[in-house]
């Protein structure tokens, strides 16, 4: 994490004493742990939100026994899955079977490195930025294929193949949308005009394509054929139990969280408050560069926008039916790909014209 110079000096003053020298060496681990804690709590919140929102749509109440308002339901589910027996298929490929879910989770967790939560609040300020996410998320289909093949089950294999095909075909429109965004200066430019400066308005087609592609990457309805219950009995996840199943579950929600964070940063204005004509930003702008309060507000705003996108994605999941695999692939290759190419073309030509 890039720390401000005043804070570096204060920390350097610690290094004079011998005991703190070792601690100072390890100080890089604190931001990583903070982020991991934040992500874990984020997943718990998403699970709770999904159950409450789906219950509201279906006219029933969600969980209410595990903790007040059912907040601890996700922890209860996780604990139960931890305590279950870890089954291994007798004639499947045990190594592939065990490693598969881990690869899916690791690739998603690595994508959190490049998300900015505030002004210069990134874990790794790389030059390639968002393309790290796209590159690493391409590793996830390998994990799914390994799980599907190692299960020694025709259904799982079929589901794994479908999942891999789906992931691959929706990466390209995703990449092209992000390419056209990266031509514009991402969060700084969005702050110039407040609400109307969001990239959402400058790239509406790109926003819609990104939305659909990220839903398809996360394998959420309307694109969840690999895990369709009726046809494939949970697809590549069929033979899993216990903690490995929990890892798939976790990977799904982590993926969703990372996609929604990227949508906020790229399209919804990042950490800027962005609502014009309210004197509060002026008040905060004084505190902006000076201290933790400003940073907390920035993080809070980013998370609030991310959860707005999550609400949309959860509502979509419980409203729309599922698409068939060939219709899904048609949508990806024959519809979204030309549109995103056209979007890129429009963006580049407008950049050239306006210079």
């Amino acid at each position: 994490m890039i720390i401000d110079t005043t804070e570096v000096q204060t920390i350097n003053s610690f290094s004079t004493s011998g005991f703190f020298k070792e601690v100072y060496g390890l100080i890089w681990i604190i931001p990583i742990l903070t982020l991991i804690l934040e992500i874990t709590i984020g997943v718990l919140v998403i699970v709770w939100l999904e159950r409450e929102i789906s219950a509201a749509i279906q006219q029933r109440i969600g969980p209410e026994y595990a903790g007040p308002l059912g907040i601890l339901q996700a922890i209860a589910d996780g604990t139960k899955l931890l305590l279950k027996e870890d089954l291994l298929p007798s004639r499947g490929d045990i190594r592939l079977f065990s490693v598969g879910p881990s690869i899916a989770v690791i690739s998603v967790l690595l994508s959190y490195l490049v998300i900015p939560f505030g002004y210069r609040l990134v874990l790794a300020d790389l030059g390639i930025g968002v393309f790290l996410w796209i590159a690493i998320s391409s590793i996830a289909p390998i994990g799914l294929l390994m799980s599907g093949y190692g299960s020694n089950n025709k259904y799982s294999f079929s589901g794994g193949l479908r999942a891999a095909a789906q992931s691959i075909s929706y990466e390209i429109p995703l990449t092209l949308c992000v390419l056209s965004i990266s031509l514009l200066d991402i969060v700084e430019a969005q702050s110039k005009y407040g609400f109307w400066g969001w990239n959402l308005w400058r790239q509406p087609i790109g926003f819609l394509v990104f939305l659909i592609s990220s839903l398809a990457e996360c394998e959420r309805l309307p694109f969840d054929l690999p895990e369709a219950e009726e046809e494939l009995v949970a697809g590549y996840q069929t033979e899993y139990s216990g903690i490995k199943y929990a890892l798939f579950y976790l990977a799904s929600y982590l993926n969703l969280l990372v996609s929604s964070l990227f949508v906020t940063v790229l399209y919804l204005g990042g950490w800027n408050f962005s609502i014009p004509y309210i004197p509060i930003p002026e008040l905060f702008r004084i505190n902006q560069m000076a201290g933790i309060f400003g940073m907390t507000i920035d993080i809070f705003i980013t998370l609030a926008k991310a959860y707005l996108f999550l609400f949309i994605s959860i509502t979509t999941r419980w409203t729309l039916p599922r698409m068939r695999i060939d219709q899904l692939l048609n949508l990806g290759w024959k519809f979204l790909l030309p549109i995103s190419l056209g979007n890129l073309l429009l963006t580049t030509s407008s950049q050239l014209v306006s210079l």
Binding site: I57, Q58, Q59, R60, K154, Y155, S158, L221, P222, D224, L225, A228, E229, E230, E231, V233, W318, T319, L320, P321, R322, M323, R324, I325, D326, Q327
Partner: protein, 393 residues
């Protein structure tokens, strides 16, 4: 090491009797070529309970609780056919009021059956929310049934010559309220489902049956009417008092799953119309033809002897079926439900053959799924609307 030669074999997958799809215990053995289905073989019999054999040892009154277990979602129809067959055999008159009550119950049961077809159909396609909405409406129908018959689902309500009990006071007003509410519910489904592009893509053009093909396979019910043939037993046979109401046959021309969906939604709306007309025009009078219950009791009857007192399964004087045979049918929500009854001059029938609509309609499944994708099997199976209780009996 030699490179293994890849063989092009077809994959045989078993969608076993247990599966999360909500179709009961049906086993399908599919032959797949990747995603395309080459062949499908349904294996039945997992719910066979010997209903026809049991009927040979029960009187009609004793058999009535069994019949609701054939099609457990449209229970009034099974009871109606069980009672209609002996009525036709012995030429028993049914009072007007009983006939109207029967029609109201039958149409409510038709709505309930179509609702519980819609929920699993949408759940198979992927939208899990309508499943909860249909149960909201079905609970209202259950409440109406419970007030009139005493049971929510397996009512033992129909009797030879009428119904078991009259409608309670205030039931008709409640039924009117339900009809008004349900019409708004159907509009909600139309808005959510019928114009949804993803739903249309999944359902349009899937599982097309031509008109002649439907007649050749012996299909009935909404499957026949969705292929362009306007055949509804309520208009053809004119049983109960259906000819006193003003209603249209719902039919479509294309014969795909979307047409079957539209036919069933239309039938629900027509049923509401019929119920409203029946409720407005219901006459007074008796609700059961009590002549049926009057048996010749001889003095010093053998039934009061010592030999009959302590033995079980000796039926008391009861409705006797004469030595004739006939076929009676009703328009159940799934198709034509029929009974072929051979009487034997005793209280037990000699042969009670059930013609279940689900069993006959299921025969066309292997034909329809050839060259379709794996995901279409669920759509087609759902649109045929089978229920294993009556397929296996």
């Amino acid at each position: 090491m030699t490179v293994p030669v890849t063989r092009k074999d077809l994959m045989i997958v078993n969608m076993g009797p247990h599966h999360p799809s909500m179709h009961g215990v049906l086993r399908l053995i599919l032959t797949l070529d990747g995603e395309d289905v080459i062949d499908c073989e349904p294996i039945l019999g997992y719910l066979h309970r010997g209903m026809e054999k049991i009927a040979e040892n029960r009187t009609i009154l004793q058999y009535l609780p069994y019949v609701t277990r054939w099609d457990y979602l449209a229970t009034m129809f099974t009871e109606a056919i069980t009672v209609n067959a002996p009525e036709k055999l012995e030429n028993v008159q049914v009072p007007q009021r009983a006939s109207y009550i029967r029609v109201i119950m039958l149409e409510l049961s038709r709505i309930a059956s179509h609702l519980l077809w819609l929920g699993p159909f949408m759940a198979d396609i992927g939208a899990q929310t309508p499943f909860f909405y249909i149960f909201r409406e079905r609970e209202l129908i259950y409440n109406l049934f419970e007030a009139a018959t005493g049971m929510r689902m397996m009512h033992n309500y129909f009797r030879i010559g009428g119904v078991a009990a009259d409608l309670p006071y205030g039931w008709i007003e409640k039924c009117f309220d339900f009809c008004d509410y349900f019409l708004t519910g159907v509009v909600e489904y139309q808005k959510l489902i019928t114009r949804n592009p993803i739903f249309l893509e999944r359902v349009e053009g899937v599982g097309i049956i031509g008109g002649e093909e439907a007649v050749n396979w012996g299909l009935s019910g909404p499957m026949l009417r969705a292929s362009g043939i306007q055949w509804d037993l309520r208009k053809v046979d004119n049983y109960e008092c259906y000819n006193e109401f003003d209603w249209e046959i719902q039919w479509q021309k294309e014969g795909d799953s979307l047409a079957r969906y539209l036919v069933r939604i239309g039938e629900m709306k027509e049923s509401i119309k019929m119920i409203q007309q029946a409720l407005e025009g219901i006459p007074g009078g008796p609700y059961e033809n009590l002549e049926v219950r009057r048996f010749d009791r001889a003095k010093n009857s053998e039934w009061n002897d010592f030999a009959y007192r302590f033995k079980s399964k000796k039926p008391s004087p009861n409705f006797e079926l004469s030595k004739q045979e006939l076929y009676a049918r009703v328009e159940a929500p799934k198709g034509e439900l029929g009974i072929y009854l051979i009487g034997d001059n005793s209280v037990f029938p000699w042969r009670w053959k059930i013609r279940p609509p689900g069993f006959i309609n299921l025969q066309i499944l292997p034909e329809l799924v050839k060259r379709m994708k794996l995901a279409d099997i669920m759509t087609i199976l759902g649109s045929i609307d089978i229920i294993m209780g009556e397929v296996d009996r």
